[in-house]
Structures are given as structure tokens and as C-alpha cells.
């Protein structure tokens, strides 16, 4: 049988494919283990929840104290003056 190099490409293709499969599996596992997608959703939800509940971009635990209605207003029953005037 005459020697040739036609099989070299096949071997390299298999090696490349194995490397890519390994890389894909590694990346997928890292993303799952580090809970990166959960962080992508849970992280932003905290300030969104604060905005939904109390109108401020912050954690809902802190947003109650910063609700806009807590601020002193001019139009009150006591006739308060405008703060700083």
C-alpha cells in the first residue's frame, strides 16, 4: 500500500472538535457553577423591585425609608414653609 497523508486532516479535525466540545462543556459548567445567569436576573431585580414598590432605584429593604412621600412638602395642613427658604 502506498503511504499518503490523507488521514492527517481527519485526525486534526477530530482533535479540533474534541477541543471545542471540551471548551463548550467547560464554559457551560462554569456559567452554571458560578450562577452567572442567576446573577444576570437576580442582581438587577433588586433595584427594579425597589422602583416598583417605592419609586427609588435601590434594594427594597432600603427603599421604604426613601419613598418620595416621606419628603417634607410645602402643601401640608400645617402650612409648612418651603425647606431652605
Amino acid at each position: 500500500m502506498k503511504l499518503n497523508q490523507r488521514g492527517q486532516l481527519t485526525i486534526e479535525a477530530i482533535l479540533l472538535m474534541a477541543a471545542m466540545v471540551s471548551m463548550a462543556l467547560f464554559l457551560g459548567r462554569e456559567i452554571r457553577d458560578r450562577k452567572m445567569v442567576a446573577g444576570l436576573v437576580e442582581g438587577p431585580w433588586q433595584p427594579i423591585q425597589g422602583m416598583i414598590e417605592d419609586g427609588v432605584w435601590t434594594n427594597p429593604k432600603d427603599s421604604k425609608a426613601r419613598h418620595p412621600s416621606i419628603k417634607a412638602r410645602h402643601a401640608t395642613a400645617r402650612g409648612n414653609t418651603v425647606p431652605g427658604s
Binding site: A24, G28, I48, E53
Partner: protein, 201 residues
């Protein structure tokens, strides 16, 4: 059918990128699903806030007594969530809007000034279960099933008008205090007399 020579198959490198493509497509699908669901969630929050506002607005209107104000508000909530497009949105597994509460919620907020004690209105529990997804390759969008992601309390504070019962009670008390201002008012009838307010209650 056109036959493909064995040597041509071996020389072809077109399949090399297929795996990358599948992986990238899966990732892109996952992120697209997250953004789509987040956009859908924010849209339903807006709809839920309208329902909460409508509930608080119904609670706000004067009535015979506070219980009747509350009953009307809850009836409004049931009416909005139980029919039409809102029924289809909030009565399935993706989004839920439940447990409407109406009344005084000042205890949930730090007291800064009595004039600012205006947290009287409606609260509704909102939940977007659709944010809890299991995506291929990249995993879950929440750390566990009990995650607060997608949950929020929708608020609408419009205060509450005085009820007829409260108005009559207030006028009775005022009448009694006027009677006690001076002994010459002792001859006036007591509060058990029928109270007629000239401007209604």
C-alpha cells in the same frame, strides 16, 4: 442523486464551525429569552400597577362606612383581574396578581412627620414566575425555587375619604364639646338627639 467522493468529505472543513454555531445559538437563545421575559415582566408590572391604582381609587371614595369602602375596592380588583385581557394575563402560571389589601400601611414606613402619614391605599402581591427559567447549557435564572426574583408588592396610596359614619361621629363629638363649653348650653339636647348636618355627611 449527486454522489460525494470520500476524498471530498475528508477535505471539507465546513463542519468544524458547526459546534461553535450550535453553542453560540444556544447562548443567544438563552439571553434573548431572558431579555424577552424581563420586558414582558415590566409590561405586566405596569398593568398590575394600574389595577392597584384602580383598587386604591375605589377605596378612596366616600361611603357609609370603612368596611363598605373596602368591599367596593376588593370588588373592583376582582372585576379587573377576573375578566378581559387581565384575566388571561394574571390567571395563568407566568404572572400572578393576588391578595389585594386595602387600608392604612403607615406602619410599614418610617415615621418622619404626621403630615406625611399618607400611606393609605392598596397593596397587591405581584409574582412573575416566568423569570424562574431553566435554560439549556447556562442553567437556572434563579438560585433556588424560593428566590424572591419576580416578586414585588404593588402600591397605590390615594388616602381615603371620610365615611358618613365617621362624619356623624365627628359632628356628635363636636356637639358634645360645644355643650360643655358653658353651663348655659346644658339646656340643649344631648347627642342622643337626631343629628342633622346642613351640608350632608
Amino acid at each position: 442523486m449527486k454522489s460525494v467522493k470520500r476524498s471530498n468529505i475528508l477535505k471539507s472543513e465546513e463542519g468544524i464551525i458547526s459546534l461553535d454555531f450550535i453553542f453560540a445559538l444556544t447562548m443567544a437563545f438563552g439571553f434573548a429569552a431572558i431579555f424577552f421575559v424581563m420586558a414582558l415582566t415590566l409590561a405586566t408590572v405596569e398593568a398590575g400597577q394600574y389595577i392597584t391604582f384602580a383598587t386604591a381609587r375605589t377605596f378612596h371614595g366616600a361611603h357609609e362606612n370603612q368596611n363598605m369602602q373596602r368591599d367596593l375596592a376588593l370588588e373592583k380588583f376582582e372585576q379587573l383581574t377576573g375578566s378581559g385581557i387581565f384575566s388571561r394575563i394574571f390567571n395563568q402560571s407566568w404572572f400572578t396578581l393576588k391578595n389585594p389589601q386595602v387600608g392604612d400601611f403607615n406602619g410599614q414606613y418610617p415615621e418622619s412627620d404626621p403630615d406625611n402619614a399618607i400611606f393609605v391605599g392598596a397593596q397587591v402581591e405581584y409574582r412573575a414566575k416566568v423569570l424562574n427559567m431553566r435554560l439549556p447549557v447556562v442553567g437556572n435564572t434563579t438560585e433556588d425555587d424560593n428566590s424572591p426574583v419576580g416578586s414585588a408588592i404593588l402600591n397605590a396610596y390615594l388616602m381615603r375619604e371620610v365615611t358618613s359614619a365617621e362624619c356623624r361621629d365627628f359632628n356628635s363629638q363636636r356637639y358634645e364639646k360645644i355643650r360643655k363649653l358653658d353651663s348655659k348650653y346644658d339646656e340643649l339636647p344631648t347627642a342622643s338627639a337626631t343629628l342633622v348636618t346642613d351640608n350632608g355627611c
